[in-house]
C-alpha cells in the first residue's frame, strides 16, 4: 500500500477550531450529517478501488471531515494529504442515494486545510500564489504567459531546449510535465470571436464563456461553439477578457479568491438581456452553476448570483433544450461508419448530470457512428491539476482510459472538457485518433453541409 506522494514536511498545527474562519465547522451541520455511510459510493471511487482503504473513499473522507466539524480531530497533515488525494471527480455524488453535497464538503475541507496551513512549504506557497493569485486571477497575465508559451513553442525554442539538454535545468517534476505541455493557439478567443455576433434570425440571446485554458489552448472550440449557437438562432455575446471563473480556486481551497472571480465574471455579463450563459468546459460548468451558494452572504451579488445559476448552461445541454437542428448529410463530412467514442467528463456527468445531451449531439451528425466506451464515466486522471499534484495515480487512470478507448477501435474520441481533452490526447499520443469536443464535430458538420451544393 503506497502512500500518495507528497512534497511537504510535517507541520502539524492549528486545529480547525483555532483557525480564524471555520470552514467545515461553519457549514450547516445537515450537510455534514447527510452521509449515512451506506458505502454505495465505494465502488465508484477511483482512489478507494486503488487502495481499498476506507480513508481513501468518499464516506471515509466525509467521516474525517465530520470529525473535524465536531472538533474530534484537529486539521492534520494526514487529513490535508487525504483531501488532495481525492480527485474531486464527483463519481460518488452520482452513486450516493442520500444526495450528499460532496462538492461543498470537498471545497470546504480543502479550504480548511489551506487555512490551517498543514501542507504549507515555501515552494508550495509560491506556486499557489503564482497560479491562484496571479496567473488565474488576472486575465492579462494568463494571456501574457500564454503568448510567451506560444512563442517558445512556435519559434522552435522548445525543441532546442530539449535537444541541448537545457531541459535538465528544470526541477524534475516540471521536466516530467514538459512533454505534456499543451500547445498554445496562435490566436485566443477574443481574436476569433467578435463581442457580438448575430444570426439572420434571432431566437435566443446568449452569453458565451471563453474560459481560461479553453481560451489559450482550445480557442477553436470556443469559435466552434459560437458557430453552432449562431446556426441555431442564438445571438452570441462574448465579453472581452473574461478571466477564470474561479473553479480552480474553489477546488483548491481558496474560496475567498473564488468569490472574487465569481463577482468579476458576473460583472462582465449583462444578465438581464440574456436567455442563457453558455459554457463548453465541464469543469467550469459544474462550478459556474453554483455561484449562488458561494455568494449567498454577499448582499451586493446574492440576487445576481441566483439569476446567474439559473441561466448557466453547458453547450450540449442548451442545444438539446432549444431543439438544435441536425446537420444534413454532406459531401465532405465524416465518411459513413466513422466511429467516434465518447468519454464523459466527470464534471459533466457527475457534476451536472449531463450524459444524454452530448451523445444526442454526436448522434445527430450524419455518417458518424457512436460506439460506447467501457467505463465512460470513470475519471481519466486529469481532475483539474491532479495530474500535476498526484502524477502516479493520475497516470494509472489515464492508462485505463486509453486502453478502453483503444478497445473501441474508434477513429476519434469526443469529450467536453479541456482537462480531459489534454489528458486523453497525451495518453493516446496518436495523431491518427484525434480528441475532439462534440461541439467542434457538430460545427464541422454544419460547415460541410454549407459547402455541399444542395441537390
Amino acid at each position: 500500500m503506497s502512500a500518495h506522494p507528497t512534497s511537504a514536511p510535517s507541520t502539524d498545527k492549528a486545529a480547525g477550531g483555532l483557525a480564524p474562519v471555520r470552514f467545515l465547522g461553519g457549514l450547516d451541520y445537515s450537510v455534514v450529517q447527510q452521509c449515512m455511510h451506506c458505502g454505495m459510493c465505494l465502488p465508484s471511487c477511483p482512489t478507494y478501488l486503488e487502495t481499498k482503504r476506507e480513508r481513501n473513499s468518499p464516506r471515509g473522507r466525509i467521516a474525517l471531515m465530520r470529525s473535524i466539524a465536531d472538533g474530534e480531530l484537529p486539521v492534520t497533515r494526514e487529513f490535508g494529504e487525504e483531501m488532495y488525494y481525492c480527485l474531486g471527480c464527483l463519481a460518488c455524488t452520482t452513486a450516493c442515494p442520500a444526495g450528499v453535497d460532496y462538492p461543498v464538503l470537498f471545497e470546504h475541507a480543502r479550504a480548511e486545510v489551506e487555512s490551517a496551513g498543514v501542507l504549507d512549504t515555501p515552494t508550495r506557497r509560491f506556486w499557489r500564489w503564482l497560479t491562484l493569485r496571479q496567473l488565474f486571477a488576472h486575465p492579462w497575465m494568463l494571456r501574457l504567459a500564454g503568448r510567451l508559451l506560444w512563442l517558445y513553442q512556435a519559434s522552435g525554442a522548445c525543441r532546442l531546449v530539449r535537444e541541448w539538454g537545457l531541459i535538465h535545468l528544470l526541477p524534475k517534476n516540471l521536466r516530467d510535465l514538459e512533454p505534456s505541455t499543451p500547445v498554445v493557439r496562435r490566436r485566443f478567443s477574443d481574436e476569433l470571436i467578435a463581442e457580438t455576433e448575430t444570426p439572420a434570425e434571432i431566437r435566443h440571446r446568449v452569453g458565451l464563456l471563453t474560459g481560461c485554458v479553453q481560451d489559450l489552448v482550445f480557442s477553436d472550440v470556443n469559435r466552434d461553439t459560437a458557430d453552432v449557437l449562431l446556426a441555431n438562432g442564438c445571438a452570441v455575446e462574448t465579453p472581452r477578457s473574461q478571466g477564470c471563473c474561479g473553479s480552480l480556486h474553489a477546488h483548491n481551497g481558496d474560496l475567498e479568491q473564488a468569490r472574487e472571480q465569481a463577482r468579476r465574471l458576473i460583472d462582465r455579463f449583462d444578465l438581464g438581456r440574456l436567455d442563457a450563459v453558455i459554457t463548453n468546459a465541464a469543469g467550469c460548468g459544474s462550478h459556474l452553476k453554483h455561484f449562488a451558494p458561494l455568494l449567498a452572504d454577499d448582499p451586493a451579488y446574492a440576487d445576481r448570483a441566483r439569476e446567474w445559476d439559473r441561466k448557466v448552461r453547458d453547450i450540449s445541454e442548451w442545444l438539446v433544450e432549444i431543439g438544435f437542428r441536425a446537420p444534413a448529410p454532406a459531401a465532405t463530412g465524416p465518411g459513413p461508419g466513422c466511429r467516434v467514442t465518447y468519454h464523459e467528463a466527470c464534471h459533466l456527468c457527475h457534476g451536472q448530470g449531463i450524459s444524454a445531451q452530448p451523445r444526442a449531439v454526436l448522434r445527430s451528425i450524419p455518417g458518424l457512428e457512436l460506439v460506447e466506451l467501457r467505463d465512460a464515466t470513470h475519471c481519466c486522471g486529469s481532475a483539474g491539476v491532479y495530474n500535476i499534484t498526484q502524477p502516479e495515480q493520475a497516470a494509472k487512470l489515464q492508462a485505463e482510459k486509453v486502453a478502453h478507448i483503444r478497445a473501441t477501435g474508434a477513429a476519434c474520441v469526443a469529450t467536453a472538457n479541456p482537462g480531459c481533452h489534454l489528458q486523453i490526447q497525451n495518453g493516446l499520443a496518436d495523431p491518427a485518433v484525434p480528441v475532439r469536443h462534440p461541439v467542434s464535430l457538430l460545427a464541422e458538420a454544419y460547415r460541410a453541409e454549407a459547402e455541399t451544393p444542395s441537390a
Binding site: 476506507e54 467521516a63 470529525s67 480531530l73 492534520t76 487529513f79 442515494p97 442520500a98
Partner: protein, 465 residues
Amino acid sequence: MVVTGRSMDSDAIQALKERLGADRVLTEREDLIPYGFDGTAAIKEPAACVVFPQNTDEVAAVMRLARERGLPVVTRGSGTGLSGGSVPVPGGIVLCLVRMDRILELDTANLTMLCEPGVITKAIDDAAAPHGLFYPPDPGSMKISTIGGNVANNSGGLRGLKYGVTRDYVMGLEVVLADGTVCWLGSKCVKDVAGYSMKDLFVGSEGTLGIITQVLLRLLPRPKAKRTLLATYDSMENAARTVSKIIEGQIIPCTLEFLDRRTCQCVEDFAKVGLPTEAAAVVLMETDGHPAVVEDEAARMAEVARENGALTVELARDEAHALRLASARRSAFAALARIRPTTILEDVTVPRSRLPEMVRYIERMAAEHGLQIATFGHFGDGNVHPTFLTDERDTAEMVKVEAAMEAIFAHTIALGGTITGEHGVGLAKKNFLPAQFGDASMDLLRLVKRSIDPAGLLNPGKIFD
C-alpha cells in the same frame, strides 16, 4: 487513542506488523476514524487497529495472536451492514477481508463457484453470467457488499420468494476458528448428510463463531427471459389480495416488491416516474424463466392485478420500459434517504398473509408518535422495510423513534414474525432478540457460542451479550 477493556498495546501492534507487514496494519487516527461504523445509522465505536490479511494463513495467524493476548476480533468486509455487526469492539482488532477478493474456481460441470470472502457480490454474478450461470441473491448493496459479509448475515435481496437467500447457495465454507484452527465444512455434493450441517451454523452467525475465509457457492442456469409489470392500487389490501391470488394461481414471481403511500409520494417527488398521486400501494412484479412460460405468467399476473382492483397495470414492452418501471422500486431508498438527515432502515418480517396488517400498524405508529415512517419491501417474503426519516441529533424525536420501533418489533413478534428478515441482529436489534427467542432459545444460542468461542473473542457483544 483511548480504548477500554482489553486493549491493543504497542507490543500487539508490533506483532501484527511482523505477521502482516506494516502497510497492512492501520493505527493512525485518520486511518481508523473511517472504520468506526458500518452502514447502520447512529452506531459508532472507534477502531483500535485495522488489519488486512491476504490469505487464510494470515487470518489464522492474526487469530492466534488475538487469542494469546485476549484481544477481541471484529471481521469486516465492505462495512455495508445494517445492524452494526461490523462496528468495532472497544480495544479490538478490525479484521478487514477486502483484500482476499479472488474467485478461485468456477466449476461449470458442477455449477459451483469457490470464492474468497472479499469478492464483491455483484462480481460473482458477473463472473457467472458469461457461462450462462446465475447467482440469484441480490442484496441492495450488491455492488460493494462482500460475499463473506453476505454469508455471515445470510443476506436476502429482491429475489427471495422464488430463489431464496444466501444460505440456499452456500455448499461449503472454510472457516478460521477462535483458536486459529482452519476447518472446511460442506462439499460440492448436492447430497451431503455427513455429520451436523456445520456450514449452516456459520451462515448468519455474524462473525461471532468463526471467520469465513472461503465460500463454495451453488449456481443456477441463467433465466432466459424476464417480464416486468407495475400495478398501482388505492389500498394495500387490494395489493395484498393480488399477491395472494398470484401465488394461489401457482405462479412464483422472482420479484414481488411493494411501496406504501408515503414511499410512492416520495418516489414521485424525487424520480417523477409517473405514479398516480392517489396510489396507496405500488407492486412491482417480475417473472423469469423460459420465454414461453414467462409470457404466459406475465399475462396472467396482469389479469389477476386487474381483477383485484388495480388502478393501473403496466406490462413492460421492452428492456428499457422494464427498467423504467423498476425504477419506481429501485429509487425508493434514494428518494427517502434525502428527506431527513438520518435514515433508519428496518427489516421486520411477517408471514406473507399478515403484511397489510403490518403496514397499517406501522402507519398507525408513525401517526401516534408524530414520526415520518415510509414502508417498502418484499411483498412475497413478508419482509417490510419501515424507514424512519429523522435526525439523530434531535434527542426528543429519537426517543419517539425508539418507542415506535419497540412497538413495531413487539407487534411483529405477535404476528408470528421476526425482528430481522435480512439485516441481522448485530448491535441494533440485540435488545429485542430475547422477546422473539424466549429464554430456552437464548440459552441455546449462548451454549453454541461458548462451545465454539469459549474466550468470547469473536465479535463479542453482537447478537446477544
